[in-house]
Subunit: 402 residues, 2 copies
């Protein structure tokens, strides 16, 4: 049965450089290649040619939101992603548990503390300083988000996270001369002291130390941003969207633009990838746009692990594609940026893209990879092109003129 | 040895129209074609599709400077190029020696006066009128630059150069109603009279006349522009750049954006092209971006000389490419615009571009010419795309978002 909906599969960090093959070229991916053969392909610059996208700005742009206008900073996106219901004017941060000793950070991940244990520390970290309510919510491993809610705050404050070990926690300071920034920096510093004080006394940390583990006895904040609600994709494009992603950031960007979120585990084994695929197929009954995210390729790229990146592509091919290809929905596959294994970081190289849809044309490209897609019928498209193309497939594009 | 630097070879006026072949198609250029075969290619519009670029705006755009914002007019670029250290607020002009007789211009190049002889006239042309210091500096042949330095000046004045012969020198006038423009036009006219007076009396001109040559007894000014310093490429992009070019304009644009300049002769015979190539290779040790310029193709295009344009391409292939290809640096080859021999002027046709770098992908294009590059993996890129692509190759691109 054909459905008038789009499954947008974003394989994070998908693009690569040839060494001499790219992971996409090396991977066995008969199902993706079939979609490429039956569909139309091209190369995709999420922001602009050559520009290195962050995952946050790239996803915003993919969903039709110009980051120059709509980017709220990383903090609010993470906070939305961990499930905090932000209010206008909230200041949000990304937060890491860390281990400090004699005033110095000795581990920025608190001995790679596990999710369950870290979550049990959540209860200590909500407080009120001056007239500001502070909310901590945990996501996975050592990660979480913090929100400052109160009058006269600003996001123009320095991170308390020094981003390196063997340093002390940074005494935050205002990045402009406003009283709001001064106040926020002051509260941030008092909150850092508060966290150290309650976490040092926490039973959970005492147990960790008894078991030879590093205590999660400090919290580090970074990526301050102010939350301002933005018009949803439903309001702007008349479509309903839903997100199926493991990471808080992706869920957060989706919530920020007014998508619903289907909560499935963050781990990405065969079983969970299949669960995501089934959930996506089911969601096509209720949503125009189903945003399905896979993180593994980006992690492998950051680790410089060619084999792992290749295997992740093969796992997506095996576990996701056969299921979603039967849904009757149109399918778009691309990445939010390249993360070449030779660089171990995001790069500005284009990402292959394919569209498999009765509402699109076909080209002569037979395989889905960086080189084959150079000859694709879509040509070279940019982030800002994608939502109009999606709306056109959905027959939801508004006519310009009459 | 691999180097993290880029040699950007701009072959001025490179692109052409097929008659039935283009000079690039007709030229024997095995070295350039090897780079095309091993690299990635495309077509390049320095400004916008179909738009006819000037050499000044095109180079600015190539270096990452939007001419709509940063273009200071031709005068300041030429003045920087001849080595004048401009100060903020200076008004600069291009200057030509000319021959006048009975108040009419009879030769706009003063009988094609040669560099050495023209340079000897430099000493007469520095003066002070009202409260304005006037600096003349010579470049090559009949060309030079003039700078007005003083309070309350404006570039909104008409050229004194009528751009045709058999006309008198134009009595410059203000192009707006500001007292600054009125003052500048007045000084310009007084300076024109001053030049005629000192040049007519000059020993050098008397000798020229005795030898049956036309005297350089007048100076014509055009292209007024106000110099305002702009943030350098080092400040904006965190890269160090250097220019190896024969022409004042190219050196001037490079200085304007904060590049260093390596001074080598303007002539472009085999030996000097090789010298430029060796200088470029040496410069890759100290600079991220080495801008290497060759002018000959544009001159041949303006002359409508197909053979000469073809020969210039072959000379570049023979003298420059083998040397720079051994440097370990990434190489980009393109032009600043097309100068079709059939038109004898700049045109808005795209220029072929190739990138040969370990930090870029490869495509299936085997030759470097206007038609082969239509199938290139870079697609159709614009001037504003080039600096982000260069920064991405250099791994100096800043991530947009996080």
């Amino acid at each position: 049965m054909e459905k008038n909906s789009v499954i947008l599969l974003i394989i994070d960090g998908l693009g690569d450089l040839p060494t001499p093959k790219t992971p996409l070229q090396a991977a066995k991916k008969p199902n993706i290649d079939r979609l490429a053969k039956e569909g139309i392909t091209g190369l995709f610059s999420p922001i602009k040619r050559g520009m290195v996208p962050g995952s946050d700005t790239s996803h915003l742009r993919i969903f039709g939101y110009d980051p120059d206008i709509f980017y709220p900073g990383r903090g609010p996106l993470e906070a939305l992603g961990v499930g905090i219901n932000l209010k206008e004017g909230d200041i949000a941060f990304r937060a890491n548990f860390a281990t400090i000793k004699d005033g110095r950070i000795i581990d920025r991940r608190a001995g790679r503390i596990e999710t369950t244990e870290a979550k049990s520390l959540e209860k200590y970290l909500n407080t009120r300083i001056e007239d500001v309510d502070i909310i901590y919510k945990h996501s996975v491993d050592h990660r979480g988000a913090v929100v400052f809610r109160g009058p006269k705050l600003s996001d123009r404050v320095c991170d308390s996270d020094p981003h390196i070990i063997d340093s002390s926690i940074i005494n935050s300071f205002a990045l402009d001369k406003s009283p709001e920034a001064e106040k926020t920096a002051r509260i941030l510093n008092r909150y850092m002291e508060y966290c150290i004080s309650v976490l040092s006394k926490a039973e959970e940390n005492k147990k960790r130390e008894q078991n030879g583990k590093l205590p999660a006895n400090a919290l580090l904040l970074r990526g301050a941003g102010t939350y301002t609600p933005v018009p949803s994709i439903t309001k702007r494009f008349c479509i309903k969207g839903v997100c199926i992603a493991g990471g808080a950031l992706y869920r957060g960007v989706a919530r920020y633009v007014g998508m619903d979120v289907i909560m499935l585990p963050s781990k990405e084994d065969d079983k969970i990838l299949q669960e995501r695929a089934y959930a996506a197929v089911k969601a096509t009954n209720d949503y125009d746009l189903v945003f399905l995210h896979v993180k593994g390729c980006d992690n492998a790229g950051h680790d410089g692990n060619f084999e792992q990146k290749k295997k992740t592509i093969e796992a997506v091919d095996r576990n996701i594609i056969p299921i979603i290809a039967k849904s009757g929905a149109s399918i778009i596959i691309t990445g939010d940026h390249s993360t070449p294994v030779s660089r171990k970081e995001h790069s500005g190289h284009e990402v292959p893209i394919l569209i498999w849809s009765k509402e699109e044309r076909k080209d002569n490209v037979k395989k889905f990879d960086e080189m084959s897609c150079m000859n694709g019928g879509l040509g070279h498209i940019r982030g800002k092109d994608l939502m109009p193309i999606i709306l056109n497939i959905l027959k939801k594009a508004e006519k310009y003129g009459s």
